[in-house]
Symmetry: C2
Subunit: 635 residues, 2 copies
Amino acid sequence: MMAGEMRRDVKVTFVPFGLSVVVPGGTTILDACSAAGILIDAVCGGEGECGRCKVRVKGDFSAQDSTHITDAEAASGIVLACTTTVDGDVSVEVPERSRLRKHQILTKSIDDMPRHLSPWVKKRMLELPKASVTDNVADLERLSRALGVKRLNYSIEMLRQLPEVARGKDGRITLTVSNLDHIPEVTRIEPGSRGGLYGIAVDVGTTTVVVELMDLLRGRVLGVASDYNRQIEHGEDVIARMIYAEEGGLEDLTALVKDTINANIRTLLAKPQAPGEEKVGEEDIVAASVAGNTVMTHFLASLPTHTIRREPYVPVAHALPPMRAGDLGIAMNPAGRVLMFPLRAGYVGGDIVADVISSGMHRSDKVSLLIDVGTNGEVVLGCRSWLVSCACSAGPAFEGGETSCGMRAMDGAIDKIRINEDLSCSYHVIGGCPPSGICGSGLIDLMAELFTHGVIDRKARINDLKTDRIKEKEEGRMYVVERKEKLSSGSSDDMVMTDADLQNILRTKAAIYSACSVLLRKTSQSMSELSSVIIAGGFGYNIDIDRAIILGMFPDLSRKKYRFIGNGSLAGARLALLSERRRKEAMEVFEKMTYLELSVDNDFYSEFSSSLFLPHTDLSKFPSASGERGEEGAR
Amino acid sequence: MMAGEMRRDVKVTFVPFGLSVVVPGGTTILDACSAAGILIDAVCGGEGECGRCKVRVKGDFSAQDSTHITDAEAASGIVLACTTTVDGDVSVEVPERSRLRKHQILTKSIDDMPRHLSPWVKKRMLELPKASVTDNVADLERLSRALGVKRLNYSIEMLRQLPEVARGKDGRITLTVSNLDHIPEVTRIEPGSRGGLYGIAVDVGTTTVVVELMDLLRGRVLGVASDYNRQIEHGEDVIARMIYAEEGGLEDLTALVKDTINANIRTLLAKPQAPGEEKVGEEDIVAASVAGNTVMTHFLASLPTHTIRREPYVPVAHALPPMRAGDLGIAMNPAGRVLMFPLRAGYVGGDIVADVISSGMHRSDKVSLLIDVGTNGEVVLGCRSWLVSCACSAGPAFEGGETSCGMRAMDGAIDKIRINEDLSCSYHVIGGCPPSGICGSGLIDLMAELFTHGVIDRKARINDLKTDRIKEKEEGRMYVVERKEKLSSGSSDDMVMTDADLQNILRTKAAIYSACSVLLRKTSQSMSELSSVIIAGGFGYNIDIDRAIILGMFPDLSRKKYRFIGNGSLAGARLALLSERRRKEAMEVFEKMTYLELSVDNDFYSEFSSSLFLPHTDLSKFPSASGERGEEGAR
């Protein structure tokens, strides 16, 4: 690059948060992190010496070799942030251990910001004329007069403060007015002229709760905090927790999810301020937008879920009213309103409506398919004029459940894996430590590799190959992923993939594909004419799409049609917090989106049976995958 | 009366509750009490023997002589209920000691019932179609669909009960829907078909709190309970309590008035049911209508009052929103709404708006004057098209304050008094015991008698008469009402009326008359053209109107123009509870009624000075009173 030449600006996106900064090309990733407010553990001062600033990067970048980076790490995109420069748009994952503080993130700008900021809360600064004996109208009516509104709602707490505040700074007073309801509501009054308007976007997941603190006046993310949903102690999936709720644990579950949200808020508020930044307190957070699945939303509002658990899977309510934070017990201004994303059905919740809002598929004339794979799988098909959704009990195979070697995507989990010629494995472990298990993306890699290497057949049964990698035991055949000596300390057995494990994964992938397939058939759409396939969710973000297609989990379409939106639930919540149009769209999507109950759909079961093959009974549906398999078979 | 002749129905009204029953002429008062559900202490079984069923009666009645009734008692209308029959309409006061239980009242019908019942809560019984997998819309939306409404508000508590209730009795469900706001609100859900709809009307006075339990479906009063406002321990008048509130006592005052209301509710609910009556519980009370003065209303809502106490006397709010009972802490269904009467000004409160509603003056084309005398005096002048109000600091002279012998209208208080030729007094004591003091109506009697007997002059100064009834001490002259020997035990001094006492009463009467006079002048109305003078309040109910006119306290108009509405605040609250039209009228009266601030009105001070005479500087304003005085003077 010549001196003085203008450097092209490039975008650095940080996952899984969806934050991004724009920096000049050639900037080091360490500097980009710093610009985004992400504090990196770089004790050597960014000299490439300590090796503690490892990040994983995808896209256009230049990395220097380093003794701190293993070949396996390099293969999976791990680099030192201090000695790697960005040449084009990249996405960067900063592992937990490379961060100075957990989730201590400040960012300059983010993706998915609406063009026009229109949060439902606004600040109004006004001057109240002084009362006199000839004009001794009450404080509240004086305020309404000054505001020029006839009807105004307000909490009694606000009224209690009014006399003091109205007589504070020469009658100058700042109101925070909420316009969520038909009649505007005063949520806060402050003496004098006071800027600062803050809100939170919340993604309440079964496994993780993410809270984003937003500056609503500037449309900036001030920080993101996330943590495991503390309800996990009562079961990893929603079914287990619903059973606990029915046994008298509902209040407990409500308290636990609130605690998780509130701990995240407090983490965000405890963050040291950047110079010039206002100190934000709980009272200053006057709006919250929450997206969660149906069960999590019910738990948050302490609503019973026993009718969701049993056929016909009926929630208490689809659209909850905007509740007061004080009534819900959220650690923010108690008069602030909490907007809950509407729930389409027992197993298609507000998180999926938020996914749609974030994806923009509801604004397109062309038909898209959205797939959110978590513990459950949810699929939405549609466009501007129609939307149809369904849920499939994919099972928790990709979240660490139902397989002997499965685990969540955390330190010690294999997230990338390749099978070598000798049928041994090369893999990448999150956190760089010896492996403890395999997370969802690793399982997909592994099964696809087993298939392409002829270790398993089209029914996902392990072939009787002559290799020490395949063992036969009472419970059936199994493939040895790694010997116990190489596993994390305390492992007494080899890490294996059994026939039973493979059948579980097979059912999961079949359920997802069948759901997509049935939605298309019911709406007379063809797979090949889909304009895009949108993959939502943290797990989806890490998935190797080619391998998912090899398995027949996702449709065999041009890879260019695939789009990853990451945490669409959080992004949707954020959009609703910031934009009136997106809020309205969320209600429109909810009202427009029909729901197909797969559990009673014969087409689904028929399609499901046909999908219990790799990639599918009907190979013509998977030309590229079949081709690959064909080659393998010919080898 | 001939056998077989139809007896004319007569109305028996019980004071101070405003309850009435219609009975055939000739019925004994004891039987009338029984018909009204008032339990009388008549241990002899109604044979005129025990003498324990004493009541005070006004109107057309026939009493038998009894050794249990003294001459003084007979003079003040005290009779035995069991041996007295009613010949025409009468009003009956049942003294506390004659009642079997305090405030244990059940009534068949009452005054001031609206023609058409239209409480803001209604019951809707409906059948919810069962959910199925082909129709698994959520419970709430299923409910909205069955109700045929698009928008519906509801509390989260209601939602929590919904799944259970909706699956109770074959899907039959009873909703209580409140229509106070623009959007209907579900306040209660019950399984099956459930009748019964109850509300309370509440009069929150500075001294007394009265609660009436209403059957909203039938428009019946089920009971009335009253008690002293427990705030009294922090001062008898609103000023003392506002000072206590400013010293940190606001929460305490709020708790005390709530406690008083709740104790009354519990008294009502503990009442034994009549046969066939439904047992009413706290949960069944789903609506409350509250009328109180501005300060009491602020205390109930825990709103600061320091700006009411000081010029320019500004309340926090005129019109409070209908609050949830649960938020206020009222012992009823927590989702039920509490409607507070709007407050016109710091010293013209919801009680006065309720007085107007109860009086009907706002529906008349002719101009009326309404006077409510309590600790404060409030006056309203107007008709259908206009209303103007003011408050005068009458002072608590008539409520037992500011005079050496004053006391509240309770056992031991002289409430009627006549001066004999020898200037000694004949009097009636509430409760029939030796006297302890004189209540408001007694003070008016006494001052008028002192004036007509020439004991005091037109400036209300005691003349230097040669009689042992007049004593001269350091602090000035005084008139001896009763010797200490005849007073209740423990009295160490004679009961006297001093020059200072008389000046206090003079100022009070002058303030009331001046307020009336100034309102008339400001609106260019003449006293003589008033169509009616409405006297509101418990004190007003007992006043001897002739004597009040002699003093120049009330305008000298035909006695036929005077109308007594008793506790108009309670009656107004009851009307608003039962009738949508009256609710709307209350808001219209509030919005229409202008307020005149007398404390800065020069006309008022000038009129006040002219009124510091008996009856007035300008005798032409009091032709009948002056005539009487003239005769006295000529004697």
